[in-house]
Symmetry: C2
């Protein structure tokens, strides 16, 4: 396993360097073969790095970038006016092959637009897709697309299925990961036109191990390795999950505070509730990958804490070790030759 270099948008996200630098330090401590470019304002980053032991500092390289992309900035504006932003320069490092992957907690729209513009999609891939893991109880389930595209055609869903399969096969060492299409269960009208057509494409080819439709209530059951859907649907489903987890945590807290007796029980349950919170902690699932580009692009949640951003860096490390973009490129090139992609 050779050395791996990851470029971090060190100014991105709700907290910028305050979160990114400690996460970078944690990552180089965890991975002896990983080197990190911290891209952003030299003086800010130098200050955050000041106390770090030199054995780690050698693998934490500050790469100056004078601008930052605001969280609410329009992607087109970022693309046009922020050519020296921490985000853009970090992506450039991947394009220049100085880093294998970029991780950013910054503006999602700007990251997707800039990454696509700078790195370009792989031949045979029309649109990159955002993939991430869901907090299932058993097994791992990834969902794509989580919001990189809307109004996807069946052909795009087919490409998402192929890309997701390659990623999961490589990361989890599964020969032929299962793929399901997210759909609704109303009998005859099962699915909209796009999903029905995608099901047909997946059934007719042997490009992936397609097992059929999956409904919304099955997202967390861990019955399928990869769930494919349009980005609009995937984003709504993911955000719905996030929202319901928050509301349920609040209900649990409130219920334990209702009476003096339940408050006492709550105090006694402290360790149990803490374990519960830990198990439901979204930080451990942080790090969505934008698949289909000439390079690895990982999107961290904007509000991620150090643990969360470290998880996103770890995702980048794993994908770099497996060289996922190259694997997708190879798979797609076979499918292009077979006429299954155009």
């Amino acid at each position: 396993m050779g050395d791996i270099t990851i470029a971090l948008d060190a100014m991105g996200g709700d907290y910028g360097a305050k979160i990114v630098v400690p996460a970078a330090i944690a990552a180089v401590q965890q991975h002896a073969h990983v080197k990190i470019y911290l891209v952003g304002k030299q003086e800010v980053l130098a200050e955050h790095l000041s106390g770090v032991a030199s054995e780690y500092k050698d693998r934490l390289i500050i790469h100056h970038a004078s601008q930052t992309v605001a969280m609410d900035e329009l992607p087109s504006s970022a693309l046009r006016t922020k050519k020296d932003s921490s985000m853009r320069v970090a992506i450039n490092l991947v394009k220049e092959r100085k880093a294998q992957a970029v991780v950013s907690a910054g503006n999602t729209g700007a990251l997707m637009a800039t990454a696509r513009f700078v790195l370009k999609t792989l031949p045979g891939i029309d649109r990159p897709a955002l993939i991430s893991e869901l907090p299932t109880l058993v097994n791992r389930t990834r969902v794509l697309d989580l919001g990189a595209n809307v109004d996807s055609y069946a052909e795009h869903l087919f490409q998402f299925a192929v890309m997701g399969s390659v990623l999961v096969a490589a990361e989890d060492n599964i020969d032929s990961p299962t793929v399901g299409l997210l759909n609704i269960g109303a009998e005859e009208i099962k699915g909209n036109e796009q999903v029905k057509h995608a099901a047909q494409l997946l059934t007719e080819s042997n490009a992936v191990n397609y097992i059929g439709y999956v409904e919304g209530n099955e997202l967390l059951k861990g019955k399928v390795d990869i769930i494919v859907c349009d980005g609009f649907i995937g984003n709504i489903a993911l955000k719905t999950l996030e929202g319901s987890a928050k509301v349920l945590s609040r209900i649990i807290r409130e219920t334990f505070q209702q009476t003096i007796f339940s408050r006492m029980i709550g105090l006694l349950s402290f360790s149990v509730l803490k374990r519960l919170r830990k198990r439901m902690d979204p930080a451990q699932y942080n790090g969505a990958s934008l698949l289909g580009l000439n390079g690895i692009v990982i999107k961290s949640h904007g509000g991620a804490n150090v643990l969360g951003f470290t998880a996103a860096i770890n995702e980048a490390v794993v994908e770099a070790q497996k060289d996922v973009p190259n694997l997708i490129g190879e798979r797609v090139s076979v499918l292009l030759q077979e006429g299954l992609l155009t």
Copy 2:
């Protein structure tokens, strides 16, 4: 407030008469002015009613229907071959004005297809939409469409917004309930074509109190009275919520069982956890309404228990008291005159 008559598909759902008859008894006990037609097999229903006190029995009328619609039957087959099914005959009672509303826990696709075929949509309404309440912590939030339609046009979403507004205004006595469109937050590409166009239609007219976009994580926040979306999206979101509530309940249970200490805490927490379960109980939110038809059609969850089916009957009673189809008809007729509907 005059007398209200509700027709129940007494053979529908996973449990049929075993659940429907006790729920009907509970409903006539709760509402002195409500009369119920129990539609289904005479002998089965008579047996289930045998022990009931005569003061209630007078308002529980068996209406024989020889057939039943299977839960997995194709809607087209039910429509064609089950003209004497409990579902169809119950819907017929609404068409014949012998009942104001029908409640069924049966096959969703068959119910929607049959209700639409028998009752027809109101003038100005192209497609009926399924609306239900979400388990928010504060206020009430309804979502439509939950799966009656897929591939909706912006004009349909506009109609859904109007129908939802009329229902909520009547049921909750709100002058001008707020309406949001379910959307994703990726800046520039915010929304798919359908949602962007619907936003334009809603903004340009004063037909409803439109307040803008709502994201998936805001579904349970209770910030808006009505959330409008395509049925594919709404169904995925609703099922995702159901699925996550189930998984989280399981995580809570498992966490309390992990160690001997936490098991003891679990025993002590019994009353608290019971309160928690009650608060999360989907039964209390059971009963989705198929809006836009010449008559009230309530869909109960197929697996609903007695409490859940009673909640669905109560929804039918409230809509009948307010005469919701008539209110929608009046509102739509004004919008047709104003040229806001065609």
